[in-house]
Amino acid sequence: MREALLLAFEALIYPGLAFTLAAILLTQWYARKLYARMQNRVGPLHTGPSGLLQPLADLLKLMLKEDVAIHGASDRLAAGLLAVAIGALTSILLMTPLAHPLKMLLGDFIVIQAGFDVVLALYLLVWPTVAMALLGFMSPNPLSILGGSRVFSLAVAYEVGFALSLLTPVAMSAALRSPAFSIYAASLTSWRLWTNPLTAVPMALALATALISLQCKLMEKPFDIPEAETEIVAGPFTEYSGPKLALIIILHDVELFVGSTLIAFIFLGGPYPFTQTWWSSALTFLVKYLLVVATLTAIKAAVARFRVDQALLLFWRYIIPLSLLSLIAASALLHLSIM
């Protein structure tokens, strides 16, 4: 019973829904401010100190607007699909060491960890992609359907790239800590992989390909092809407004938060090596997380949009072969027991 209550607390409060909602509002403010400065603009300014409450105001405004569902479009099913996709992403947070501070507060914490649970994480990571694409097909608008088909076209490339990239540190961490191929074990040991020159090279390769794949997964420039506003209005989201649009924005931001958190833990080692005190751990993780978000924002600000064929070629010619190469190198190091 206690374990079930603890799981419910983690799912709904920390590090689950409530914490995630707070984190995405702050992340959105940070990314918008950074993006604006890179474009010589000011960004959010008037709501709250330095515009800190602007993302919350935007979400509340959308939540309280009328819920439009055009003739022939799915109404509540779309909202249900978005809710499930957000649920899938927040579940991944329970697989990371983010729950560690609960030990101080509640005396115990639950981490979802088992051998080969990386497969479960990869499955959960696909949910937002499927949700975004199906949103397009749930609306009879041709622009939405085109956007949905573009999401699926890109997904066959970036999902492969992201999965291969994530597997590299997870595979190498299997030599250092059990359970093997676990997100949690990899989060605790990945920082040690940067100290060995042999493992640092595949780590660097996989980190670069993971960042580019995540950028495409988030549909940010140069991969904002499914929602290219100058071509197809807003792609899969053209007919959505009000609370459903709010859920779409939440899903996008949760994907950014979870993706960046995974990279900060699995590739950059999370709070390590400064784990002496709780505040040094939190600060180290925060710096790494903000660094990942800043990198993604810098890519978004620096480049123009690709065409769908250019994006697919980039992935199949460079990103996927490089991520595969890093995974092969990781497997060879693991097999030869070099680490």
Binding site: L12, G16, L64, D67, G87, T90, I112, A114, V233, E239
Partner: protein
Amino acid sequence: MSLLLEALKASASMLLVASALYLLYLYAKTRAPRRPVGDKLSIYACGESYPQRRASVSDVNLFTAVWRNLFANLYRRMREGLHTGVLSDWMAWMLLLLAVVLVVLMVGGMP
């Protein structure tokens, strides 16, 4: 710990969060000022008229666009090489396919 148990925990967490968000959506829906009517319920097509009966999903684009666009050269060469229009060629390909299936079954173990 077993992966199945952990997957069940993840599913429970997913269900809890999804239910909470869906309830939030239903609450927001009841707080909306009024039900939308008129043009808001018709398809938005940048000022053009687009009747609902014209809207359809093209399954051809969905399933074969990647194959045709990304591997266009390979697809063309294979089509030119394989698709001769001669019935005996088609028969040969079918026999080859049958042989491959038999080999796969033998390697994998026939039931």
